[in-house]
Symmetry: C2
Subunit: 149 residues, 2 copies
């Protein structure tokens, strides 16, 4: 997503573009991934310490409403936001040691969904799949530590 789309969508909704919103959006775009509200906020105040946490909350919520951001809640409870454009529909691998979040897409999930839906006569709108474990880096670290001790 380019910053321009944000302004266009704002216009469409009759909303106003402010300095604060522009800075928050710019910060959000600069560091993609799955950022928590606190992470975004702490980045924003580096540029402009006058912007309040409240405005960051509101702006991210606004981006979500406009369809430009997606809100995610993983098992750790923290609310995170990611760019809506980052791949149509992906799921997540989460490292329980370092917190790294990796996106993945797997075509077989779709057919799996379809089968489950049919079995239970459900109409599926969306899904959530998260795999929790240990990433390659943390796995190596742990193994080398074990050898030493």
């Amino acid at each position: 997503m380019k910053a321009g789309i944000f302004k266009t969508r704002m216009d469409e909704e009759g909303l106003k573009s402010t300095r604060q919103r522009e800075e928050i959006v710019k910060t959000f775009l600069k560091a993609p991934g799955h950022q928590s509200l606190e992470q975004i906020y702490s980045q924003v105040i580096k540029t402009n310490p006058k912007i309040g946490r409240i405005t960051v909350y509101r702006t991210l919520k606004l981006l979500t409403r406009l369809g430009l951001a997606i809100q995610r809640k993983f098992a750790d409870g923290e609310t995170r936001y990611e760019l809506a454009s980052e791949g149509a529909h992906h799921d997540h691998l989460i490292c329980l040691d370092c917190g790294k979040i990796i996106e993945f897409e797997d075509p077989t999930i779709e057919s799996l969904q379809a089968r489950i839906a049919q079995q239970h006569q459900f109409q599926i709108f969306q899904h959530r799949m998260e795999l929790y474990g240990r990433c390659e880096t943390c796995l190596r670290k742990k193994n080398s530590r074990r050898k030493k001790s």
Copy 2:
């Protein structure tokens, strides 16, 4: 799970069995499924209005620690508890209209997990898969309503 196991596990941990705990556990066992803290609490006070919400919270947390209950957080944000014994590893279908939660197990999820893990060199400990949509009953209701209007 039988109520007896609870006492045995309590003994093992050096914990004390109290009237309140017994009533909370009995209530929890009586209505299996995926109950929210509030649902359990409102059932408990029907039997004994003197039991506080705090004790219900603590007891469910205790059951989780003992491995007898499992805590779940779905997209609606409410914390729910289910019996640990209800099938080793299952996932959930959630109706967005009526809130009904259906459990399912699918063997292909395991192989899917294994493939993703290998691709990303992850070691998977656990997963979470939730399908959100509309259940058969609500689907029928919606269709019949549409025909009438």
